[in-house]
């Protein structure tokens, strides 16, 4: 997804659209698979929030590292994770990214710099800060990014991480995906500050962007990533977005106004991107082709995952610790 030019060319906009479509198609399929009982566990979908993961990832290089959270499918896929292994993991199969041991909340691919989804709210931030420290000390030229929700501002370790990153001027991009909700409670009822004020407290660079406009997110990310990469210290990007579905699949959302859900569903980043494409002269047929291709790709990944082998307990035993090495003196 690496890109340094403006995403305003049709070609680049199509790339962004294709990536969002891939995330959306994946998550809609996951919703159906969960409803059918084919996929177990907790599934947190980011439907309606695709522009954030895709727009940010578009500004990252392959070897930039990325820490994610519980709502991480989009982050993983936008970072370039293989769809086959992704679905194998969600199905709990042997050849999944994590050999079926992690599932939705722990998808990771270190070879793509993806340091893992994370089931602990806030835990990704210090991991990203540590990764950024390693980039800096090793002189890799890479940066670390981390996605977290608005609710994560409740966690102390998030604040400790802001301080460390700013204190040490580390190359880390904090991406707050502000969807207004913390599980079943509106974040406004839980947090007496906001990302902008927090960044100001640490005199950290920050910006706020319409998180449902992939062009806006990608543009902001490109600008900020360049600064972070240049050694200007950390930056916090706040992306305002909306959660379309429940906190997790199976959540009947009794706590939420039907109107709020409708508004969220209506402000669809994919539809907005389609309109942008049409406006710059893309044929509807091109868009439809992407939809079809994506569907075919996801169909294939699902079929492959369904047929995947089950993991074996003894293989799991082998990975609790690393293989033994000779002690040195």
């Amino acid at each position: 997804m690496g890109s340094t030019d403006a995403p305003s060319t049709t070609y680049q906009l199509l790339d962004l659209y294709r990536a969002m479509r891939r995330v959306r198609e994946t998550e809609e399929r996951l919703a159906a698979l969960f409803a059918d009982g084919e996929i177990p566990g907790f599934i947190h979908l980011a439907i309606g929030q695709e522009a954030v993961s895709v727009g940010i990832a578009a500004a990252l290089d392959e070897h930039d590292t990325l820490a994610s959270n519980h709502r991480g499918h989009g982050h993983a896929i936008a970072k370039g994770l293989d769809l086959d292994r992704f679905f194998l993991e969600l199905f709990g199969r042997r050849d999944g990214h994590c050999r079926g041991r992690g599932g939705s909340m722990h998808v990771a691919d270190l070879s793509m710099g993806m340091l893992g989804a994370n089931g602990i709210v806030g835990a990704g931030l210090p991991i990203a800060v540590g990764s950024a420290l390693a980039h800096k000390l090793r002189g890799t030229g890479h940066i670390a990014a981390v996605f977290f929700g608005d609710g994560a501002l409740g966690e102390g370790v998030v604040h400790e991480s802001f301080n460390l990153a700013q204190l040490w001027k580390l190359p880390v991009l904090f991406v707050c995906e502000n969807n207004g909700w913390s599980e079943f409670t509106e974040t406004a009822r839980l947090i007496a500050t906001d990302p902008q004020r927090m960044a100001a407290a640490y005199q950290m660079r920050t910006c706020k962007v319409d998180g449902n406009d992939v062009v806006a997110v990608a543009a902001a990310a490109r600008t900020e990533v360049a600064q972070v990469r240049a050694g200007e210290g950390p930056c916090l990007i706040e992306c305002q977005t909306k959660r379309v579905r429940g906190h997790f699949e199976g959540d009947p959302q009794k706590y939420r106004d039907a109107g709020d859900i409708a508004v969220a569903a209506h402000d669809d980043p994919l539809l907005r991107c389609e309109a942008q494409l049409i406006a710059v002269g893309t044929a509807q047929r091109t868009i439809d082709e992407i939809k079809t291709e994506t569907k075919i790709r996801v169909d294939a990944a699902v079929a492959n995952a369904r047929a995947g082998a089950q993991p074996a307990p003894l293989d799991a035993f082998a990975d609790v610790y690393s293989p033994e090495r000779e002690p040195v003196s």
Binding site: G103, V121, S182, E183, T185, L190, I191, P313
Partner: protein, 324 residues
Amino acid sequence: MTEVRFGGAINRALSDALTADSRVILLGEDVAQPGGPFGVTRGLFDKFGPERVRDTPISEAALAGVAVGAALTGLRPIIEIMFMDFVTLIMDALVNQAAKVRFMFGGQTSVPMMVRMPHGGGINAGPQHSQCLEAWLAHVPGLKVVCPATVADAYGLTRAAVVDDDPVIVIEHKALYAAKGELPDPPTATPIGRARIAREGRDVTVVSYGGMVPVALAAAADLARAGVESEVIDLLSLQPWDEASVLASVAKTHRLIICHEAVEAFGVGAEVAARVADAGFDELDGPIVRVGAPFMPPPFAKALEDWYRPDAAKIVAAVKKAIS
């Protein structure tokens, strides 16, 4: 007797505790308006209002510290930690504050707080949402730790925990929430520190607690068909635990098995085994055998999780080993 679900019994106990004592308050993530992530606190916000039943930010460490401060200032807070896996975030408030205040302030005060937390697997929630970490808490002087297995004790231990003057951790197995059982009418508190004989038997003692008790009973039923009579002990309390009842049973059966869903190594079963290998040594006619999860994090995949969690077959095998 009324038939209710395990989660419903806890809900009733919380409601009764809030009714009985105006100093009781309830705090946690999504416990108020949404009624709790597992529905256990449903209706309490409407009944007791926003002052006494509060949704909290995702700030577990502060939440537990707040409970300590509130308990020191005349309230009896109940807090909920959504998954026991997140107890990692409140260890300081629990261990360095709540557990020690009474002792380290010379007995000046108590810390009457209670912490509810679900543990265990069975819903493919993966490595960070399925752990059983109770052995940590049982190792901490000043904390009490209980873990109900039945509907009656889910009610009874919850009530007892709220009226207890010390910090009590109530561990609820999340796979039990939907289980149905009988609640006495009126329901009563279950004393902390006393075990229950869930099934009498003369051949082998099987000690267990929480979600593993029904599994141990199923194993006992299997074994009975093979002519082996197991005495199944439901510990109920892990700190303090009812050593006298376990020793008395071993004095009768001379064989001991301990089973829990937590990782076997350094788990609660180790302490039970160690005490019996000391105080009950002369009564033992065979090795003490433990059944617990293998030494790995709880895996996600169904194939792996099913294998990971101890089942009746594993208990039966352990009993056979112990009596052979």
